[in-house]
Symmetry: C2
Subunit: 242 residues, 2 copies
């Protein structure tokens, strides 16, 4: 016989199409399980991640996630919109285009992503050699920051990943990061690399700037740069059976 669950789900979907998008997998009050219904589907979390530092266009996201198809990106953005995590907005200036942005609640996913990242980084199966997007690098810096060390220091750092430029503001025990605007803003020093992966050996592997193989260059007071690098600490991997 056909499953009764399928029938009921179909009926619920007929009554309210949006309801079918959530509460679809588990009929469970567990909030963590519900969260996985919202962000657990393939591609959803990387999309959210790419929006975490500000709204972007459809094709920006595609460029950052080259393996995603237009179909899946469209579907996921629709789900995220109906879930209240993302909004779609048409802007006219400086150019007419559509912007996908996180809602305030969607931005609340950063602590979730930080917790996920801190946990999975302890796995020996995690491979930091794989390609990294600029946004991933920026968020990882926020996650890996040793907060007390950023409490008694104020600094502005330019972070340039290929053509993408960001401004980091150290202070109050945190690292605020925003995309750099058109007109160059003043910074105390700059870190510049051809891609996001070039930052990893220096920031987390503590390889000296300019040592063999590092593709990262700095501009400005070397002592400030070193103090910045010292803000970050990578946890050791566990020896896990399996």
């Amino acid at each position: 016989m056909k499953s009764r669950k399928v029938t009921e789900a179909g009926r619920a979907a007929a009554q309210d199409p949006k309801a079918a998008l959530h509460g679809k997998w588990y009929q469970d009050a567990c909030a963590a399980a519900f969260a996985m219904e919202l962000i657990g589907e393939r591609w959803t979390l990387p999309i959210v991640r790419e929006l975490m530092l500000g709204g972007r266009r459809f094709s920006d996201i595609r460029a950052s996630l080259p393996a995603i198809s237009a179909k899946v990106l469209t579907e996921r953005l629709e789900s995220l919109e109906s879930g209240g995590i993302v909004t779609r907005r048409a802007v006219t200036a400086p150019l007419p285009m559509k912007l996908y942005e996180l809602t305030d609640w969607g931005i609340g996913l950063e602590p979730v992503m930080a917790a996920l990242g801190r946990w999975s980084m302890e796995s020996p199966l995690h491979n930091p050699q794989l390609p990294l997007t600029p946004v991933s690098l920026m968020l990882s810096m926020r996650t890996m920051l040793d907060s007390p060390k950023a409490r008694d220091w104020q600094a502005r750092v330019g972070l340039e990943v290929g053509p993408q430029r960001f401004i980091g503001r150290v202070g109050d025990g945190a690292l605020a990061i925003a995309r750099a605007g058109e007109n160059p803003e003043p910074t105390d020093f700059v870190l510049r690399g051809p891609d996001a992966n070039a930052f990893l050996p220096v920031l987390y592997g503590k390889r000296p700037l300019g040592s063999a193989g590092t593709r990262l260059e700095a501009e400005g007071d070397a002592a400030l740069v070193q103090r910045f690098i010292d803000l970050f600490e990578l946890p050791a991997k566990r020896r896990v059976a399996g």
Copy 2:
């Protein structure tokens, strides 16, 4: 032309079948994305949740997650084992059986689940009326605990959800929870309900014990019980567009 990515994935899987289980979705160094490959698949997180308070048998898990099929549970437990999150162990006493247990690293998922839960609970789409398992209730109490209030108090509470019995120990700003053993352990007071949902209006809705509709009963000093209930605070929902 056939995609080259598919060919490479197939080749990698042929060399090492286990490698295919992870790094399957995204070729991305982002640790949060990697975490989703480990726990983002359907049913994986609820399974982990059910193991969070101690090892359980295959049929225990099925009983807690009635909508999961034997095939899927088998597959997920295999993935979790090869990912280093779960171990399978044959025990002989008191009865010969197989126990699935979280590894130390797997237990490290509790902060992740707490972050997911805190976030998704703010959604107006989250429905706490749905059924809740006893383990979900226990974990939600740990998450919702107002830590400072548990700093200057020591207490032992019996938590009985239908036939399942737990012992909670309040102290040091935390709530430790373990399954109760065979021989009754001493407790300062007891909260007892027919199912996990019966606890919600009292613990989080602050409905008085014994008021109309509450199906929860307490045993022991009423002042202590009230102090326990006051440890928990449910955050308000956001008004989210969409």
